[in-house]
């Protein structure tokens, strides 16, 4: 298994690969001279942020580039054979049988109108002719090897009847159907819950070892790479900047970019200030909870109080089931849970975008649950409760430029008229969120993910709210951008005495941002407690499981 026993020609050798994309704005050099080797039985991690060219490299290796992409230089050798210019018939025998891929979003990669068994049989049939009965038998075997529950029943299931984790297991089964020697996994667990991520990755690692396969694991998650790879390659802007074992790479990063990336990745002990040292955005950032003035004064009513909240949908689905919690003025409360836990529904209930079926919402001692969401836009407390959404792209009107996006709530909620005061306030919000003023004229599609996130935050703080709801505010962002956005949110909170309701699936992030944490599962509160209690001695087994599933870059794989 170790690189030392590697036979003379590596399984895959990529030498000085260049890939260009022709776009409306000319040629984009996505990959600029990447060289890599994968030995038999080895797992190579490729990490980098969006736009680093890590996925393009993988697609180029399997020759699955879209039409606008072109390999302009370099060589790809598989078992010593040059496949850089292989014909499509040569490639067909290569795909699946020698190299196979698993992707992000497994549900989209499966055909929605064919059963799992038939799709697996198709994958087998692509390499050898087998009878229908034999195909079914082999499909069942594959499902058993990916440890899916009730494999016999799953054979006749359609993709929509399976959970995301099960779909990814089916994808893995399809990927190993042709007994390939190399598996390329492109962000295989992005979008899966943390506990599912761990079981799926453990499964992949086991299959790789059992079958003596090699793997290229492409991920933005350093923790994942640290845990499952023997060697990790860091890419930035189409180039490899550093390559080492996870232990060396993450304990003594050599390249400045790797240093930044490692620092920005939240760990079990990091603080907000650690994430991006020297960014200068936030001189006052401290560890959450250190600040004395954010502690609730006894006797004052909480800013937000939620009592026995229930949200029922048609057909008897209960998204939120008897949830109660409080947020003091200036406090930051974390709402943690996996998909289906009801955390996003709670954030929308509290933001009064949807109506609760039962229960009370008190804001500043006043019941605000009585006014229907339909007319809540006219409520005097509308400006006091604002929200930042998960996907920064999705949360900005494509026809408004950044200025209009930020100015809109000022016009609606504070009745500000166009003029110097409005412009000044918009510019102030942009400055506070670190958005360069010359970007205010730009439309969302002309901004980067981090810039869009800043516009979203600037819009939410424009009316000086007292409670800010953050619904997975950094889930769609790269780690280095996440670090800066988290610092920004933390400093805004401290400067304005904002209360935060921080919704996230990322426990490390919640630990840094919040004083108290609510753990949710299937719409119910599992545990509620202070940051320290939850992380140090969680009483509930589910909370424990969530905490243990977090992959940290300090968990290097041994051997």
């Amino acid at each position: 298994m170790t690189a030392g026993l590697m036979p003379a020609p590596p399984l895959l050798a990529v030498d000085d690969l260049h890939v260009d994309f022709s776009t409306r704005n000319g040629i984009v050099k996505a990959v600029r001279g990447v060289s890599l080797n994968v030995a038999e039985g080895e797992t190579l991690g490729v990490v980098g942020e969006s736009g680093s060219g890590k996925s393009v490299t993988a697609f180029a290796v399997t020759r699955l580039l879209e039409a606008s992409g072109r390999i302009t230089g370099g060589h790809i050798r598989f078992r010593g054979q040059d496949i850089t210019r292989a014909s499509s018939s040569q490639l067909r025998s290569l795909h699946g049988a020698a190299v196979s891929m698993i992707f992000q979003n497994p549900r989209a990669a499966l055909n929605p109108i064919r059963t799992v068994g038939l799709q697996l049989a198709d994958a087998i049939n692509a390499h050898e002719q087998v009878s229908a009965g034999e195909g079914r038998r082999r499909a069942l075997e594959l499902l058993k090897s990916v440890l899916i529950r009730d494999p016999e029943q799953r054979l006749d299931a359609y993709p929509h009847e399976l959970s995301g984790g099960m779909c990814q297991r089916v994808m893995i089964a399809m990927a190993i159907a042709g007994k390939p020697s190399l598996l390329i996994a492109d962000e295989p667990t992005t979008g899966l819950d943390v506990t599912t991520q761990k079981t799926v990755m453990d499964l992949v690692a086991r299959i790789i070892t059992e079958r003596g396969m090699s793997m290229i694991l492409i991920t933005h998650d350093l923790g994942l790479a640290a845990r499952y790879c023997q060697r990790v390659m860091v890419m930035e802007q189409g180039k490899v900047v550093e390559e080492a074992t996870p232990r060396t790479l993450f304990s003594q990063p050599a390249h400045p970019y790797t240093k930044r990336l490692v620092a920005a990745s939240p760990t079990a002990t990091s603080t907000i200030a650690d994430l991006a040292p020297g960014e200068g955005v936030n001189p006052r950032a401290t560890r959450a909870g250190d600040d004395t003035d954010s502690k609730p004064t006894p006797g004052t009513p909480p800013l937000l109080e939620v009592q026995n909240l229930v949200k029922r949908y048609d057909r008897g689905v209960v998204a939120v089931d008897d949830v109660s919690f409080q947020i003091a003025a200036g406090e930051s409360l974390g709402l943690v849970g996996e998909s289906g836990s009801g955390k996003s529904t709670i954030s929308r209930l509290v933001c009064r975008l949807i109506d609760a079926s039962e229960g009370q919402i008190l804001f500043d001692g006043q019941s605000i649950g009585g006014q229907p969401a339909r007319s809540f836009h006219a409520s005097p407390v509308r400006k006091d409760i604002q929200i930042v959404f998960q996907d920064p792209t999705e949360s900005l009107n494509p026809r408004y430029n950044a200025f209009e996006c930020i100015a809109h709530p000022l016009r609606r909620l504070l009745a500000m008229k166009d003029g110097a005061a409005l412009t000044a306030r918009v510019r102030e919000c942009a400055t506070r969120t670190g958005l360069p003023l010359d970007l205010l004229e730009r439309f969302p599609h002309q901004l980067s993910g981090g810039q869009k996130a800043r516009v979203g935050i600037a819009r939410a703080i424009a009316c000086r709210p007292r409670l800010l709801i953050l619904d997975e505010p950094t889930a769609a962002l790269d780690v280095s951008v996440q670090a800066i956005i988290l610092q920004l949110l933390d400093s805004l909170r401290r400067q304005d005495g904002l209360s935060l309701l921080f919704v996230s699936h990322d426990l490390n992030v919640v630990r840094m941002m919040c004083e108290r944490i609510v753990v949710l599962r299937l719409g119910k509160i599992v545990e509620i407690g202070s940051n320290e209690t939850i992380f140090r001695d969680a009483s509930n087994p589910y909370t424990r499981e969530l905490i243990d599933a977090v992959l940290n870059i300090s968990d290097h794989r041994q051997g």
Binding site: R24, N25, R348, C351, L353, A373, R374, S375, H377, A378, R382, K383, I385, Q386, I387, F389, Q390, D391, E394, S395, L396, N397, P398, R399, N401, F403, E404, H408, P409, R412, L413, E441, F443, H445, Q446, G456, R459, A460
Partner: protein, 286 residues
């Protein structure tokens, strides 16, 4: 509003037209048509209604570019003058169904529920009829007037706009920016009118352009069967209808030129559609 300056819009338009010369040709054609509709009657060489039986049924010549008809009227002059009426009918019918369809469809798509179901069934019923027959019935019932042609054409086009706007709004109703607008103090109605409609208009502009050609054909068709504009008013449909009697005797120009005018007009608007979407959509700008 500090939207992109007009110079940026202009630059983008030029960029789209250069990348897509067919759109440029279609746009030029549409421009010429509109110009003729405005100034046509004052530049034509002959009076389009004045008959001169001595000069009847002359083939195309230097004096009469498109020949003369059975009453000796200049076909070319009639063609040019007819552009105003045909375009006016089509434009007003399409704007009417566009405005109503977009609003009704957007409300259905955003609200869902009972309103959506009722409007949806009404649209289904409307579409269960052969649309041209429906238009015929409406004009026959309401009376043979230009306003009624406009109304009939607008009503038979309405289902397409309702369905289109409904579908486009429906996919956007749960977008983050819609929720953000609600959190910014917008009512549901304001979200529909100020956020959703502007976002679906570019896609609908394509529909409008395709529909314009179709509306012209519809108006011409109604006139052709005698249910629309009355002779002697110059109108392409009537001209084709009147000329059809003479085609057997080899007087081809009576039918060919109005037919050609109709065909080119419809073609122009259809080709314009796609280019229009590229011009109107801010995401196509870089």
């Amino acid at each position: 509003m500090t939207f992109l300056g007009s110079s940026a819009t202009l630059r983008h338009t030029v960029w789209v037209l250069r990348g897509n010369p067919v759109t440029a040709v279609a746009a030029a054609g549409a421009f010429i048509l509109c110009l003729l509709a405005i100034i046509g009657p004052s530049i034509v060489p002959y009076d389009p209604i004045a008959s001169n039986v001595a000069n009847a049924l002359k083939p195309p010549s230097a004096q009469h570019w498109a020949g003369t008809d059975q009453l000796g009227r200049d076909v070319f002059s009639r063609l040019v003058v007819a552009a105003r009426l045909d375009l006016a009918i089509a434009l007003s019918a399409v704007s009417l169904s566009f405005a109503m369809g977009a609003v009704i469809g957007a409300i259905c798509g955003y609200m869902g529920g009972r309103i959506d179901r009722y409007v949806g069934r009404f649209v289904d019923i409307l579409m269960a009829f052969p649309l041209f027959v429906l238009a015929m019935a409406m004009v026959a019932a309401l009376g043979n007037r230009v306003e009624n042609i406009v109304i009939a054409t607008a009503i038979i086009n309405l289902p397409f706009y309702i369905r289109f706007a409904r579908a486009e709004v429906n996919v956007r109703r749960n977008a983050g920016w819609v929720e953000a607008a609600r959190a910014s103090g917008d009512s549901h109605l304001s979200v529909i009118l100020r956020f959703l409609l502007p976002n679906v208009l570019p896609a609908m502009a394509v529909q409008v352009s395709l529909n314009l050609g179709w509306a012209i054909l519809n108006a011409a068709g109604l006139s052709f069967i005698g249910l629309g504009v009355k002779p002697p008013t110059p109108e392409w449909g009537i001209m084709v209808a009147e000329g059809a009697r003479f085609i057997a005797t080899g007087k081809w120009w009576l039918v060919a030129f109005p037919g050609l005018a109709l065909m080119l007009t419809v073609l122009c608007f259809n080709l314009l559609g796609d280019g229009l979407r590229d011009i109107l959509d801010p995401r196509m700008r870089t």
